[in-house]
Every structure is written in C-alpha cells, then in structure tokens.
Amino acid sequence: MNTEVLGVIAQVVLMVVLSYPLGKYIAKVYKGTKVWSDFMRPVERLIYKVSGINPDEEMNWKQFLRALLVVNLFWFIWGMVLLVCQGVLPLNPDGNIGQTCHQAFNTCISFMVNCNLQHYSGESGLTYFTQLFVIMLFQFITAATGMAAMAGIMKALSEKTTKTIGNFWRYLVLSCTRILLPLSLIVGFILITQGTPMGFDGKMELTTMEGATQMVSQGPAAAIVPIKQLGTNGGGYFGINSSHPLENPTYLSNIAECVSILLIPMAMAFAFGFYIKRKKLGYSIFGVMLFAYLVGVCINVSQEMGGNPRIDAMGIAQENGAMEGKEIRLGSAATALWSVTTTVTSNGSVNGMHDSTMPLSGMIEMLNMQINTWFGGVGVGWMNYFTFLIMAVFISGLMVGRTPEFLCHKVEAREMKIASIVALLHPFIILVGTALAAYLYVHAPEFVASEGGWLNNSGFHGLGEMLYEYTSAAANNGSGFEGLGDNTWFWNYSTGLVLIFGRFIPIVGQVAIAGLLAQKKYIPESAGTLKTDTVTFGVMTFAVIFIVAALSFFPVQALSTLAEHFSL
C-alpha cells in the first residue's frame, strides 16, 4: 500500500488512541481527584498565592464570566503595549521594529481570542521577546481560557441543582499546569531531536555552495511550536508556519505536530462523558465528530493526491499529487490530512498552502470552519457542539411531543433564544463581512488599490480568498488563503472585530445556558425522557448542525469553490 496513505491512517489512529486516556485524565484533573501529576500542586499553590486567588471560592456563572472577560481585557492591553514597543525591548538581535497600531490591534486580538490570524510574518514582524512574552504566553493562557470555560460547563451539567459552576481561576491554572505544560514539553523534546531550533542567537549567516550569502532565521521555535499545535492556536513561529523546514523538519515531527492539533479537542469530547458519568453520551458525541472529520479527510486526501488537472493537461508527470505550495518531505496526503485537521479544530496552522489546494479541498476547509463544531478549539469547540445539542433536544422534543430536557433539566425559551443567537451569529458575521469586502472591491476600486489591491487570484478563487479570511476569523481559526494582501487598515480592523464577536459572544452564551440549566429543578429520568446518548439522537444532532450551519453557506460556496471546481 502507498506509504503516504499509510502515514495518514497511522496519524488518525494515533490521535484516537492517545486522546482516550487523556480524556479520562482531564476529567480527573478538573474534578480534583487524585492523579499522577499532583506533584505540581506546590507550583499551583504558589501561583494562587502570588495572584491573591482563593481557588476554593465557588463562583456563579455571572462571576465566572466576569473574571474571564476581565482577564482577557487585561491581556489585550498587555499585548498592545508590548507589540507596539517591541523595537526598544530586549531580546531583539535582528533589530526588528515595533508594529503599527492597526497591525498590533489585529495581532493582539487574534492571539487573545486563540485565533492566531497572522497579518505579519514571524521572521520580521516580531522580536524574540514578543514571540515569548506575547505570542507564546497567549498561546498557553488563551487555550487555558477555553478549557476553563468548558470545565465550568461540565461542572454545571454534572450536578443536580446548583448555583455555582466552580472557580474560573482554578480551572485556568489547572489547564496550564496539568495539561498544556506537560504535553508541550513532550512535543518540544521530540521537535528538538528532529532539528527544530531552540536558541537565542540571531540569524545564521551562511555561504552557499554556489557562493551566495544566505541568512537563516532561527530562534526559540521549539518552545512555541508545541503549544501552537496543542492549544489549537496555530500562529506559526516562521511566516510560512509548519511548512517551514525548521518548524517542521521531518515526517516524524509532522506526525507529532499533526496529532497534537486534535489531541486535546478529541480528549475533551471523551472528558465530558467521564466527568458527568455518562460515558455513552461522550462516545456518541465523539462518534458524530469523528464521522464528519473522516469524511473531510477522505475528500481532501483524494483531491490532493489526484493532482491538478490543469497541470496534467500540460503533459508532464504529476505522480505525487498537487505539489504547488507543498513540501516533498511531507507529501500531498499528509498535507491534505493536516488541512482538514487544522480546520475542524480552530487551530489554523498549515503545513502546505491552502490557497493552492484544489477547489473541493478548499470547500471542505471552509466548511469545517463554517460549521466549527467538529472537535473545534480546545474547550470552545465542544461548547459549540453543546449549543447544537440544546437545539437538537428542543427540536426532537417537539417532534415526539415531549418536554425538551437535557441531562435532567428542562430546556426552555430563554436557553433556546441564547442558543439560536449563538448559532446564527456565526454565519451572520462571516457573510456580512464577505459581502462588505466584495462590495468595496467592486464599487470602491480606488480604496482597494490604495490598500494594495488585496487579491492575489482573480475570479471565483478571489471571492474564495475573502470568504476564507472572514470564515477563519469568525471561527477563530487563523489559517488563510494567504494570497490575500491582508496587512492593511481595512482587513486588520474588520477581521479584528469579527474575531472578538466570534470568540466572546459564543462563550458568554454557552456558559450562560449551562449556568441557567444548572439552577433549574432536577427531574429524574423516566420512561418518558428523551434519550440523548443513542445513535438516533446522534444522527439528529448531525442533521441539525448540517441544516443550520452548513446550508447557510451553500450559496456563497457555490459562487466560489464549487464554481471553480466545475471550471477545472
């Protein structure tokens, strides 16, 4: 069998096999039961002490959200100041300058919301100091924010009737010290042995065999790449992300990085089942997500390995698939797998250029982000699925004539309103943004020209570039059809706003639903209860997600990726 396909199978198997025990472990960590990593406890106690936090203080859902939002606001200020001033701060051997205001606004927000849309290039847009004290720091703590929010929801759903949903600060710290830190260290060790740089010397100056001078950017990459993958962040150390041969030097490093993307999101789906002691529900959620993921993988792998028909038409030997924008050591199959993996989660790192993938692959990449619930970002992806679970419960409850209940709590008008707003917000901000950009592109050509013309491709694919950018921003993904010239006033501000809406409105809504549900009276299960852990209900949820989330995007997909596919 083809070794490239075998490599893809191996990676998927590895993800599933590793995420199961991890899910069990995560559930124990948030519950506070005994685990092997309890030796970290003194470190955690020190952090609580330094920060003046009482980890045993229980919060209701409003206090929980207030703490979450305030700490994010603080991080925004922290990031803005450091990015603008980076030119005069230490650890800047390459002499890079500070970012402009609109660029810093976009960079800071996109890292604060765990998106990592990058409108700069890592080699020249940042210094070693901001790489570590803004980018890497945010990659840890914003991932932990999403996980903490999910931990709060799990706590709310696991109890009969409660006003409190745990302590935000405690969940935040535990996510960092017990989950993200140990996993990042392991991945970091693997990457270093494979040749990813981890030093503080500036660029390496070399004389090539033909006598030219080559400056090789390097730095503390092996510290940033692991958390970028594990925390569904995706913001690469180098401009070209994990297709860079120093960021991702071998096939083994590629396996480590690609598995890292889905490891925690997959584990979170299992963790939910273990935490609320309904393993079957956890498995059924996992099953629906895995099914949708694998469909995407099959389509993209076959598309990319099949190659570009337009290049075939030139009469040359295209035996290894569509290699434009891909690397030989990774191959087209592993790049296709990564393109699906990074878009079902809100990761957004790439190991090959999405702009140059086949139109149908591009469609799957965008569709994954437009649905944004198949595994999704650490914590928040599962929470998006939770929104649709509530809707599915409500719809199927009405269909069979039973009061809609989820986990023994009644789902009523208020929860449904919040769930509907959250579910509709996503297509709304993507489509309005794209429509605005497309309108300006046609009707204000002088403005677009003053911003460098934006598009790198014409026609259907050009529309795809704009659609992809807003999709990626709203889903807090961060990958791009990178041909778009997006480091401009318009794109920095407009996607910055989409990023904020796409992150915080869903989190607030979802935590509120869980908090409201938890306050209600506990209704013990009876013969009349709608079972939510069956295959039928799994199919039902899938249908609701597909109808609400995917079909909203059908018209615009038809105009961009599908149109391009049929013109091949």
Partner: protein, 194 residues
C-alpha cells in the same frame, strides 16, 4: 477592579512559568539533544560550513542537482519564507508553470515532456524545501554527469545512496536532500581528480 489586579498578578506568574521556566527547560535540552545545539543544523564540505541541513538553497549551475522553484524572497531567502499562494486555475500562474517546463527542457534536452516531474516546476510551500523526489534527481543525472565530465553510472549511484526512506519504511515519502547530495557529488568528483 479586584479582578483586574488578580489578572495582572496571574499574568506575571504565568510569564515566569512559561516564558522563563518552560523555555529554559527546552533550551537546556536543546544544548544536549539538539542536532545543532539549539541552532539550525549545518552541513560541512572539507571542514567548511556550506549550508543548513534542513534549509534548501539555490542551485542554478549545471554541475549541481537543482531544488524546486522557490517563492521565498528572490529564491531560497531563509529570512523570508513564502509561497506563491496561487490557486489551481489562475491563468498567469499556469503560464508561469509552462515557462518553467520549457526552460527545464532546454537544460535537459534529452528528456521527453512527459518525463518532467511536476514538483520540479511547482513552487514549494515554504520556498525553502530542502528535498526533491528520487524521480526528480534521476532526470538530472545525465546533465550533471556531462557538465562534470563524470561517468553517468557513478552519478546515478550517488543518487541511489542519497535516497531517504519513509519513516520506518512504512510512513511518508521517499526523498533526497539536495544539499547533501551535492556535497556527496562534490566529494566524489574531488577524489576522482586526485
């Protein structure tokens, strides 16, 4: 306000944990286990550093094996990685690929059009791809041998030896590191002259 002060203090604590402790652990590990002691791994020829093992470089002369087309800066600029980001149906891009095919055929007049490997006329993702496929190396053997006045079979043997197998023989791609192949080539031709 209370939350804001907690935020500041916890952020500082996280700075120490991640930006200092975590980074330090990895940095120390790299000093022992990293192939380049924390820097990019280098390749030497006659004791002189001629490049980074994992970073491709530009080869244009007929006496060397060539790498793939590059969109990083002016070509293989390792301080500004980059790709073409061209969609599969974009006409100017397709014209460029055609031009690359023609120029490849000019330098390899013994080849038929259907023997030109697509990866030699399409740009890589990073613009710094250090590898080519074995097929892409074999089509260049005759040109390199002629330019160096070497025996074709000897050059082909060097290519055979340079092939890196998939991981454990099972997973991934077969590939050749262009820089390492050229170093081996240079060494072979120097020992021949002696």
């Amino acid at each position: 306000m209370k939350n804001l002060i907690k935020s500041l203090r916890i952020t500082l604590a996280f700075c120490v944990l991640f930006a200092v402790c975590y980074v330090l652990i990895l940095w120390i590990f790299a000093q022992f286990a990293g192939p380049g002691k924390g820097n990019a791994e280098t390749v030497t020829l006659n004791g002189k550093v001629v490049g980074a093992a994992n970073v491709g470089q530009l080869f244009t002369s007929d006496i060397y094996f060539w790498g793939r087309p590059s969109c990083a800066g002016d070509g293989y600029d390792a301080s500004s990685s980059g790709a073409s980001n061209k969609g599969p149906t974009e006409q100017p891009y397709l014209d460029e690929v055609k031009a690359r095919i023609d120029s490849f055929l000019v330098h390899h007049p013994y080849l038929k059009r259907q023997e030109v490997p697509a990866e030699m006329v399409t740009a890589s993702g990073s613009g710094l791809d250090p590898h080519i496929t074995p097929a892409s190396a074999y089509v260049q053997v005759k040109r390199v041998a002629q330019a160096r006045g070497m025996n074709e079979a000897d050059v082909k043997k060097l290519v055979d030896e340079a092939i890196e197998k998939p991981l454990l023989g099972l997973f991934g791609t077969e590939r050749i590191n262009v820089l390492k192949l050229n170093v081996a080539l240079e060494q072979a031709s120097q020992s021949m002259k002696k």
